[in-house]
Symmetry: C2
Subunit: 499 residues, 2 copies
């Protein structure tokens, strides 16, 4: 075979737009996160499910979150039998298809968790990818408020397992039916008007009451001069919403206290009252599961942008002040969310099937943890590198590598053909905690030189005179060959503890 160096055009090696490669420490950190959350979810009785990357486009439906347009934003292609298939844009739509397909044979209620890539055919940008990993947990077939409470409590424990301490995250909970009831009591029947109003309320956090009031009324002119048409609700309904939102501004309220405050405002109608009863049952279950008032709060300003939620809605928020690479403060805000959606399976079967779930973006949570200084990527070290001098001594190098691996120490033989200096640089770039040097002299003397690379770096940093550094050989020790494994293991353990 010959290379195609003479071929007219060589392809350029590049990622497709919006697709990224992930490797090494970041990837290991993300996998650990998923592993830890999975252990929690399995302990809570949720079984793993993996569906295929493709769904038929009609089965996928138009429930793309954050987009109201049907079948936009997905990667679709036509199969050779002319049926349109599309890559999943989330893990909920495939679950709905799976549950509808196999409902007769599934244990009911059906609890499952899932993680894996989802794809969105959107304009890529900095930090905005067209493929990313989500992690979901859902219970299908239970209308009990305890099912919502379980998902919420499990989400809290999952975030804890991922590395967030108590007080570093809060799950805010509300119920979409609070507003359904309020709209019905206020005579607002138009679905578009309701959606516009919910979107306005969703911005309470950012715009405050004045901005929201404008968007509930005629419309709002923002600072940039853009005009957003409002929901045009009657003044009476807007006043009720005002009382409603202001009643819950007190962050010191318990969950039960918030429910009392909302109830006192009134004007919720029959549906809204039912929503309060559901929230009270969720509160009782959360209390029974000893979920603290700080970990889960009730907050009626949480509406979630999605059209498909039908009851309780949840949003997990990072409370930590985080900094970016340049040390600037970053507000992470939402790191996950979910809620009750009782209509998704009905698309297939025509029959309502109660369902509730929680979802988070894996990379986003990993970034949040990293930014919060809670990532443990630093603890992920490269393998110990055994330096190669002479092909004739290969047996000695391979023996050393094998012994280290058999002792559970990640180790590798340098397999390039560069000299000592380049090999030390290689070990450094691999994040190796130690390098093992078996020169001819060492072998003849039954010894081995072990270089503690962290100690070497630390010592080198404290020594200004370059000649002194060279002569001192910081972090380097010569030990009997039989003490190789013990010596390296000690260094690796220190490296792990230190970082």
């Amino acid at each position: 075979m010959t290379t195609d160096a003479a071929a007219p055009a060589r392809p350029e090696a590049r990622n497709p737009r919006g697709f990224a490669d992930r490797r090494g420490r970041d990837l290991i950190a993300e996998r650990r996160l998923v592993q830890r959350v999975s252990e929690v979810y399995e302990r809570w009785g949720f079984e793993p499910l993996e569906t295929g990357a493709f769904e038929y486009a009609d089965a996928l439906g138009k429930f793309l979150p954050d987009a109201d347009r049907p079948n936009e934003g997905v990667f679709a292609l036509q199969d050779d039998d002319d049926q349109w298939m599309a890559l999943r844009y989330d893990l909920t739509a495939p679950l709905a298809r799976f549950a509808a397909q196999g409902w007769e044979t599934l244990p009911k209620p059906f609890r499952r968790y899932a993680f894996g890539p989802v794809w969105r055919n959107e304009k890529p940008g900095p930090g905005r990818f067209r493929e990313f990993v989500q992690c979901d947990a859902d219970t299908v077939g239970s209308d009990r408020p305890e099912a919502d409470a379980e998902i919420i409590a499990m989400a809290c424990e999952g975030l804890r397992a991922a590395g967030l301490d108590a007080g570093q995250a809060v799950v805010r909970v509300s119920n979409r039916k609070l507003f359904d009831g309020l709209f019905q009591a206020g005579g607002i029947e138009d679905a578009g008007q309701r959606l516009t109003a919910l979107r306005a309320i969703d911005k309470f956090d950012r715009l405050g009451w004045e901005g929201v009031a404008a968007l509930l009324g005629e419309g709002r002119l923002d600072d940039s001069g853009d005009y957003t048409r409002g929901a045009r609700l009657p003044a009476g309904v807007i006043a009720t919403i005002e009382g409603f939102l202001s009643s819950v501004a007190d962050e010191g309220l318990t969950r039960a206290g918030t429910l009392d405050a909302v109830a006192r405002v009134g004007g919720l109608g029959e549906i809204g009252e039912a929503a309060l009863t559901e929230l009270a049952a969720i509160d009782a279950a959360l209390n029974a599961m000893k979920v603290s008032q700080d970990a889960v709060r009730f907050d009626p300003t949480i509406v979630r942008g999605l059209e498909y939620y039908t009851g309780a809605v949840f949003e997990a928020e990072l409370l930590l002040d985080t900094v970016d690479d340049k040390g600037r403060a970053v507000r992470f805000g939402s790191i996950g969310g979910g809620g009750r959606y009782d209509d998704l399976v009905a698309r297939f079967t025509g029959e309502r099937l109660p369902a509730t779930g929680f979802s988070f973006g894996v990379s986003r949570l990993a970034s949040a943890l990293r930014a919060a200084g809670r990532g443990d990527e630093d603890a992920v070290r490269g393998p110990v590198v055994v330096i190669v001098f002479s092909d004739a001594d290969m047996q000695h190098y391979l023996d050393a590598v094998s012994e280290l691996r058999n002792a559970g120490v990640a180790a590798e033989l340098y397999l390039g053909r560069a000299g000592m200096k380049a090999q030390m640089k290689y070990a450094d770039r691999r994040g190796a905690p130690a390098a093992v040097i078996l020169g001819g002299d060492e072998i003849a003397a039954g010894q081995v030189t072990v270089k503690d690379l962290d100690a070497g770096r630390a010592l080198a940093a404290g020594v200004s005179d370059n000649e002194a550094w060279k002569s001192e050989r910081p972090g380097q020790q010569i030990v009997p060959r039989s003490e190789l494994v013990a010596t390296v293991a000690r260094i690796v353990k220190q490296a792990r503890t230190a970082s």
Copy 2:
């Protein structure tokens, strides 16, 4: 919101053709397999890499294994900037793109492992999917035979970690240049003729020498009456190949013995002799790593169907006699393979970059392990189920579930609305080792009933009289409430040991 029950057409809930859902025990078994192999690969110094699902079609190239046709067999679509993208069909092509793209900044040699789905747009059939999970390990940038030996030895240790004992699998190794040399020495320059000849030799295992000889010569009429045109090699070259293959029929030969036998046949030319030297160096490294003669054999009939291999080639074969679901004997044959490919990165850069790797199909290996009775899916049990009687006692049920989870026992509360009998059936279908019963009487007496479901099944099987079974309540015990966790933990531990 209303359901779309009245909508004209509801989509049918179905998987796209050739795409499967995987869940529960099988999925857990596959993940454990990948986890165990990953631990080995990381201990050997291979770092994880995940590339995106899509590659640009030109970057993906026409190296689809087992298909000589360019750009066929992939799922491709045109991006909105008119560039064609395709889902990866293996993990090697994306690695070549990644290595070419970032070569300057990577530690060299670059070792990486990867696992994830790959997609092939082929006709689906029973057991033949269009999406499946592969697991690969490759070293890019080392021309050393020790790099091949390392991949081979690591593949052996990976298979061992996955659950195959010594003697249950063998990695057969050869070198494509043996035949390159033989062809060159025999004056066979035509690439098509060479490929046809290699394909014939690849069938030695199945057809024996007579069939292969026909395919190396004019052609072969098989039992079904189909005629396959042969490579039409000169008789002298065919005779050399015969001596070559027959010299290695002795399964008792060591790796060094096989090399000697091949060398004695002669006619290998300069390139073939170089191949023998490479294999001898691989043997030396395997011996240094204490890889037994049974675990890795040299076998010149191994050619691998792929066009892109340029040196050493490996094939991992399951040696176990396995049975299928119906108890019929199954020959699994190849469960993975790989080799040296020095031209893949050159597609992008014009410069040869040495590379070597090993790949296996995760589901296929899991099936092999299952068929060989080595799968441990049976050890994967469902959660303990806490039965629900009355909403008023919810606090008691939730307490029990929390206590069990906090003790590390997977547990769940039944969250449907069915009665006791249906709940016990549910627990059974979930594979629960135990059910926890907290009726009003138990709660009042400060007690709890724990049902050992395995013991219950076993006892029930031995009791013919249904009335007796009911009265004896097999496997059921009433203990003080304070002993719940200890009692359940004991049952769960027994269930794990027994299965």
